[in-house]
Each structure stands twice: as C-alpha cells, then as structure tokens.
Symmetry: C2
C-alpha cells in the first residue's frame, strides 16, 4: 500500500488502516516520521523550556517552527548563515515551518491585505514588512525545514460565509504561487485547506488543492472556537477529497480527545501550542483528565504526576515538588511540566499508531475516552475566549 | 595526613598542599566531596533553571539550599514528609543548608533582634516568624541536609566596628546554642566566623569557634562590598586559627579570581549566587573574562560560547542561538547559560585541585589570571551597589 510521491522525495507509505484511521510513515531528508504524529511547537526555534535532548528523550519525531516569528527575530538570513534551522537549534530530526499566514492575519489593525500579499507591522517594533507567497517561500527556503507550508489565510470564527469563501480563494491562488515559487527539492510544500465550518467550502477547497498534487495537505481554520460537532463535520467533508497517498495534517489541534477524533477520520499529523502553554500554567494531562498542580491539594502529595508515566518528570519527581516549583515560580517548573504534557501526547499517539497496526483503533480510543474527562465545555469556552482575546494582544502573538 | 573528626561522621582528609592551598576529601552520608569545591546555590531546593541531572552532568558535587526560603515555602514539615531535601528535590549527592541568618538580617525594618533570636515578617506575605538557634537547628534537621550552618549575624558593610563586634558576639553565643541543640549525627554543624574587615575581630572569632571543635568552619561576612585587599587581609587573619583538619568554607564567594585567591590561602568550599544570576542576565564566563551574549556582536557569531568548553551548551549550540534565545526571552536561554557558567567554575576548581595534587598551584593560578580579565572595578562596584540595594528590596531576597 505504498503510494510513491511523484512531486518530491517525501514518500508517504500507508502501512495499515483501522476503519478510517491510518498508520503510515512519512520519509524526509532528516529521517522517517511514523504517523499519526503529534508535533510539538517550537515557534522561535525552541520548544519553550526544553532542550533538544529533552525532545529526543520524550521521542518527539518532528517539531514546528514559525516563519513570522523567525523572520522578525533573528531573521531568516541569520538562520541560513547558521546552516539552517536544524543547525541553528541543534535538532537533527525533521522540522516543519508554518508559513506565518495565521500570525500576520492575527495582527488585525496592523496589516493590509492586497491581492499580492499582506503588508504588516511587526508586533515587536512596528517595522513594516510584506509577506507574499513568494517571500514566504523564500524565507522558508532560508530556514530550511523539511516541510514548508503554503501562505494561507485562516479566517476568524465566527465570520460571514462570504468572507470565508474569499479567504479560501485567496488561499488557493496563493498556494499556486507558492508552488510556482517552490525551488528546493529537499523541502516538501504542503497546501492548506480552508473553508471554515462550511462543508461545501471545505469540499471545494480540498478538491482545488488536491489538483495541485502537493506532497501533503493541511487542514487549517479549525479548532478556532467552533463547537466540536462543527469541526467534525468540516473534517468529514474534507477527508474524502484528499489523496490517500499523501499525509494529512490537522493544524492547531492538540487536546487528547481531538487528537483521537482526528486520527479516527484519517488525520496523520497534529500540532498545538496548548499542551506546552497549559504546562507552563501548571495544567497537566493525566489519564483521568487534567490536574492543576498549583492547587493546594498537591502541596503534600508525594506521588508522581501520573503513576506509570514514563516521562523524566514522573520517573523522578513528586507532585509536592512540582507544586512548590510552580508556587515559587521556579524555572524548573516549566521544564518539568512541559516534558510531562508532551510525553503524554506523544505516548497517546504512539498508542494510537500501535492500535491501528493491530486494527483495534476504536477499542483504543474508547478505552482512553472512558477514563479521560476532557475539560468541561465552560472551561473550554473560556480557553477559546482567552485565545481569541490573546490574538489581539501583542504578547499572545509570541506563542 | 588524615585528621579523624571526633565530633561527627564527617571525616575530612587532607590529601595534599601546594604552599597554603589544600586538596582534600570531605566524607558525608551522601558521598565524598573532593575539595576545593564550588557549590551551586539552589535556594528554594532547585538550582534555578536546571534539573538535577544537569547538575550531575556538569559534576556539581554538592548544592546549597536555604533555610529561610524553605521555611516559608513549602515549609520544613512538607520537606520532611517528602523524606527530606534529597528526596524532595531528587538530588542524591550532598546538600548544605544555610541557616537563614543572612536572609533574616537582610530584612532590615521587617525584623527585631533579641538575645533569643530574630523575630521577622515574611517578605512574601508579612506573616510573623521567630528564628532562634534552636528553631533554625530544628528546621535544618527537618530539611535533612548533610551540612547545616549555625545561626549567625552577617554584619552589613560598611558599619561601625563596635556593631561588627556585637554581631560576632551574638554569632558566638548562638553557635554554642546551635551545638547544644544539634541532635542529628548524620548532619555536620559548621560554625561561621564573623568579624567584618577587622583582623583582630576575625582572629578572635576564629579562635572562639575553633574551641567548639565543630566539623567545619565557614567564613561569613566577606564579599559584601569591601575591597579585595580587605577581604584578603581578613582571610589571612582567620586562616591560622582554624584547625587544619577541618574544612573551611568561604561564604558567598564565586568570582573566578576570588575562588583562586581563596583556594590559595587554604579555603576548601565556596558558594555564590552570582554565576547563576549573571547567567540569567546573559553574562557568561569565558577564559578571557566575561561576555554578555545579549550584545549585538553575537547575533551572527556561529562559534560556541567558548571553544573547547566541555559543557552541554558549548558542545551543542552556537553563540548566535543563545543570543537569539536571550533576545526573545526564551526559557531555554537561562538553562543553557546557567549550565555553562556553573561548568566553568566547577572545571576551574577541578583544575585547581589537580594542580594542588601536583604541587603547582601557583602556576595554575597564574596561568588562569594571565588570561582572565575580571570585571573592572567600576563594574564590580556597580555590582555590589546593586546587591546592597537589592538586599533592601523584597524581590532580591528571592535569590
């Protein structure tokens, strides 16, 4: 069941399916990525609070970095002079760079959209910059990730359908310009399907991009505040129209239940800042749901965050110590919490992959969700509200 | 040349001398400490930004923690319930706890000194506490370090000689009460010599404490802003009056040139927050002196912080990457810089020990200082001024 990829040296091999869930391997110049895979986010060429060796230890197979942030600081030229992102951040496994579309459109009153691209002012110093499909491809070429993303517009939510349609049209036109500007055969260019929560727009966007025969496809514009049922509907509208021989990447999704739902419908790749950001706020993932280690009840709790967890944090420290580190705002708190949350998700997805290979994915998902109580809807709504509010705030851009 | 220690199971073995510089081994319930030794400071049961495995990797042989800070948060009872500091912070090598004397006297207008002890208000929540020699010994017993310090008064600088004398008298009386209250044979109680910059007071204080036959002696109240010549004079007044068969610990000293000077006159142990605090400000120790990695000149510098340095940071990353992490305030910056500065000092002292064993210490010191340009006196004065000012500020207590 291997589908050789005609357009790049990034063959994706589909190894097994369990209903519509897929297990595969994506090959890149920096090694193979077993899928499904969760990709930790290292916006500014560092997964916050972790050293690369921590990421190898918890077995992250690929990390993200961000074009917008790295363009502003330190600048893509410096990264290129350093030998590219792998050398700069000393991460030898694959890297994916997001195109910066999400970030520049988030700048609201600091940006002007034209047919050519987006002119924006830096959130750091107000300096003016222009992102076009061509400049974004050039910057990503300098950064040197294995996988680069097309420049796209992620429409906000909620918003008029007509706006979502025009954003998707822009995204399609820009994807074609990205493909035309794409010159580095050692980088795979992924397209991004948009279309908001409208199944017809999603289908149309998927078909349009599939025709470009790109080596992979992302689904953007979900997990931006819409209800879970709408996300599911949009996903189901997209999936039949993406080629089965290419990896599918659901952008910005990282809650455990969302990962399992995404894998179920055939998603191969995920990324999200929430597991790492939540970790820095003391919110830790455990099999029952989440716990906030800052709560007073953990002050005298001498058990590990989760018994049986194989991460460095749980193998080594007790909850009372993490509680103390968080209460005293010690830097080690953020490292230990991040290690745990990332390992939790990486292991969850490793387990999903093993279950797919044994054709018992539904059972795996059911067993996990029987025990796991996701954040309640109110907390989720507050979370999304905070994210939306944050988009408008300068400091939230730095994620 | 072994001097069996009569009062505790903490034998100190003097292995070699090179002029007055000493190489030895101090045995503790958590293993042997080759001396001279630099002890990283982990005030609140964590060396800021590092995990214990980082400390093992850079070969820290013993770390400090602080009685005042741990008494306030999380409380010594919780540490005791966790099995003591070694278990709480998961550090299997020796630990030394400072008595909190320095901190409570720094509280200035938040404390009242009586013959019994010091009544003070917490810098965190204003709650009232009483430290006496007896309570400090009880708290340190609960914390469970290998080496505990007598409750002392570190007189400020500059101050009237008469005040320094009365502070030393209090320190002597309290040392006797600490010894009387000392009950745990697995903890070595060190006395603290005071006396400011007055050689006669220093001699008197050393003689007084030596008569108590404690398993080790610290020299406090130096490196608090006095000129280097005065520190040297005070040290030279003390050394002949301390027993040669016991370790000598110079408190709060950590600049490379001060370490080498201290070792030269026969000091065995050092601690200081500056190498770690400076690291978090981007000030990195190199053989030539110091560099501030935040400076623009390092933005395109693709060399390691110091070529040939065996620390994880220098083995792995380039200056341009550290510069980027500092400029973007990424947490990894603090970890990588701290690893480097601590490894630099640990290696400096390892080299001093090897040189003493070969009876060529003067040569070792000379070769290092020929190349190393310590911070200029102006910068040093500003540094001390900042430290003094900081003592009065709440947030500086958290060090």
């Amino acid at each position: 069941m291997t589908y050789p990829n005609r357009s790049t040296p990034f063959p994706y091999s589909l190894q097994a399916m369990s209903a519509t869930a897929r297990a595969g391997v994506l090959s890149t110049p920096h090694g193979e990525i077993p899928t499904p895979v969760f990709m930790p986010v290292g916006t500014r060429a560092t997964v916050k609070a972790l050293a690369p060796r921590d990421l190898v230890e918890l077995d992250a197979r690929i990390v993200l970095a961000n074009t917008y942030h790295l363009h502003l600081r330190p600048g893509a030229e410096i990264v290129a002079e350093a030998g590219g992102l792998h050398s700069f951040m000393q991460w030898q496994r694959p890297i994916l760079t997001d195109s910066g579309g999400f970030q520049v459109f988030s700048l609201a009153n600091r940006r002007v959209v034209t047919a050519d691209g987006v002119r924006f002012r830096s959130h750091i110093d107000g300096s003016e910059h222009l992102f076009t499909p061509e400049t974004v491809m050039r910057i990503q070429g300098q950064l040197g990730a294995d996988i680069v993303m097309a420049f796209d517009e992620c429409a906000p939510y909620p918003v008029e359908k007509e706006y979502v349609r025009s954003a998707a049209e822009r995204t399609h036109a820009w994807a074609e310009r990205c493909l035309a500007a794409h010159q580095q055969p050692d980088q795979a260019l992924f397209g991004i399907v948009q279309g908001g929560v409208w199944p017809d727009l999603r289908r149309w966007s998927a078909e349009h991009l599939a025709a470009l025969d790109l080596p992979g496809y992302a689904i953007g514009g979900l997990s931006v505040g819409e209800e879970k049922a709408l996300m599911r509907e949009a996903l189901e509208a997209v999936m039949p129209h993406l080629p089965t021989g290419k990896p599918r990447y659901l952008m910005g999704v990282g809650a455990p239940e969302d990962l399992l739902n995404g894998i179920e419908v055939g998603i191969d790749m995920f990324d999200c800042v929430l597991p790492t950001r939540n970790a820095r706020n003391g919110s830790l993932l455990v099999s029952d749901g989440r716990l906030n280690i800052r709560n007073g009840q953990y002050a005298r709790d001498f058990a590990p965050v989760e018994a049986g967890c194989d991460c460095y944090t749980c193998r080594t420290f007790m909850r009372a110590y993490l509680h103390h580190l968080f209460r005293t705002e010690e830097l080690l708190a953020y490292t230990l919490a991040t290690i745990h949350n990332l390992r939790f998700l990486v292991r969850l997805v490793e387990g999903a992959r093993a279950a797919i290979l044994q054709n018992r994915y539904a059972e795996y998902k059911g067993a996990f969700l029987d025990r796991y109580h996701p954040t309640d809807p109110d907390a989720r709504a507050r979370n999304h509200e905070a994210l939306r509010a944050g988009r408008r705030a300068r400091d939230r851009l730095i994620t």
